[in-house]
Symmetry: C2
Subunit: 333 residues, 2 copies
Amino acid sequence: MVREKEQTIILKKQPRIIGSYSIVGPKEGKGNFGRYFDYVMKDDSFGENTFEKAERKMLESAITGVIEKAKLSTKDINLMIAGDLLNQIISSSYAARMYPFPFLGVYGACSTMAESIAVASVLIDGGYFDNVVCCTGSHFSTAERQYRFPLELGNQRPPTSQWTITGAGSCILSLKGEGPRVTMVTFGKVIDWGVSDVNNMGAAMAPAVRDTLLRHFAATKTKPDDYDLILTGDLGKLGSEILIDLMDDEGVTLGANYGDCGQMYFKRQQKTLCGGSGAGCCATIFNSYIMQKLREKQYKKILFLPTGALLSTTSTQQGDTIPSVCHAIVIEA
Amino acid sequence: MVREKEQTIILKKQPRIIGSYSIVGPKEGKGNFGRYFDYVMKDDSFGENTFEKAERKMLESAITGVIEKAKLSTKDINLMIAGDLLNQIISSSYAARMYPFPFLGVYGACSTMAESIAVASVLIDGGYFDNVVCCTGSHFSTAERQYRFPLELGNQRPPTSQWTITGAGSCILSLKGEGPRVTMVTFGKVIDWGVSDVNNMGAAMAPAVRDTLLRHFAATKTKPDDYDLILTGDLGKLGSEILIDLMDDEGVTLGANYGDCGQMYFKRQQKTLCGGSGAGCCATIFNSYIMQKLREKQYKKILFLPTGALLSTTSTQQGDTIPSVCHAIVIEA
């Protein structure tokens, strides 16, 4: 009944990612990818009087930063596609009012980087727009107090928990210019296998990756070895192990070319338990380290799979489990 | 500096809206459009134990309803695009897990119906998908307690306030089949003229409509008289009067062919003050009354302009003003 082929898009013109930018907090700057980020903030408040305003300012910095880095001006941009974790995606919406181009708000939780690139790719591939900016981000302190507890309580974190990345990533897609090409898009289905532990997002999201991966491989007739890198968003240490097991059960081996942004983000001494998470997690790694390796052609073809847990505090309080989604994009050097 | 033309999409293949469905609450059913809706619920709880679950069930009913009405099955659908007003768009995300097709979550507050139709139109026009379902909705009781006060408090409503519609609307876009055609799309910019009164959304959103209207008219070389109907989403009584004044200042007269879904929704005796609002407001009118008039060719060409106020309670509590957006779509019989 499932028609995988019709749910994967093969892009004819293959839009290029002509610029990328990343900005992170100080803890993230001390992580494994510190030297690849464009800007490391001195402190998490970024000169603002609330963490929410700091998050918004990060997104603005990422948007302005990527436009300047690509040697374009705001009048060259036709559209901005963005989303974030805050209620009503206020970081993106409020950032958008600073710019003269239209805004398309998307919500896919931590899968937003893939969702925005996927939609932008199609808009450009179809010849509708020239240059589209994609952006997302998250902030540890806004996410903790919105989704879990006020930081002031000093709650102990369970071992399966992940650390929401303070950071924002952005990129510009275009048919003109140089850069890695987006060649395929597989939109994710919402998958819910009944996990209800809000401190174990990796376990909730792994089945969504499994579904998208299986559909992507079937539709494109590819296998793991066809990619230099298969990169999930923020399954974390436990979630990425669960994914490897789930895929193993399907006869698909995820080997040395598989990695997870959340799992890789921090050094062990940084005590983030299961690793990084948040919309800014894969957004900052992708728009720094990964893009550099693609530009240097150390990676020739990657499968990028950001994941999102689509819960809210209301759904949790009402006893619901956690549905998740994973959108896949293929990028070639 | 503003390049209107490059921000308006002229659709080459002109995707058709091959089916539409609307479901509303009892108060909405007694309003001016009562006899046009597909389903009027007997009570606002829709058999669920929370209003949030009732809202979700409305969206599920709208999605299942439109697929059946279009004489399709779920396997014919390639993608669902949806969003709503609840934090993390849980009504849409949780509804999506019931279906076997992929999900693209969007957020544009009450502009979501236009945003989802706009994105679906482009995906179909570009030849990427065959059938895409668009859906959005809202619920008076979930919106009141999330955005304003618990209903139990019985707060008095100020005269500028609007009544969030309990209802959901959906449609299916396709190249195959019969139905009105989506011919143009103008994505909205985020506009903020400094209104901070959360009980006066119409005033906050009117400048966003002004911006999109002016850009749309300039890009498409059309004027108000070229449309049988120019229909805004939920500016309400006050907001739509503000829009008429704002456009008048620009030398553009919005006359008898201009209407606002919020302003028209209820009868005067229903005491909704400035009228209806919410993502379900224009979604339910568009997918019932408007679609019927288009199918009957009483309207030949309409300009549909749903509007969204992009605030959250956090942004309001931190002293922010209300940014707004308005996406425009042109539909021809």
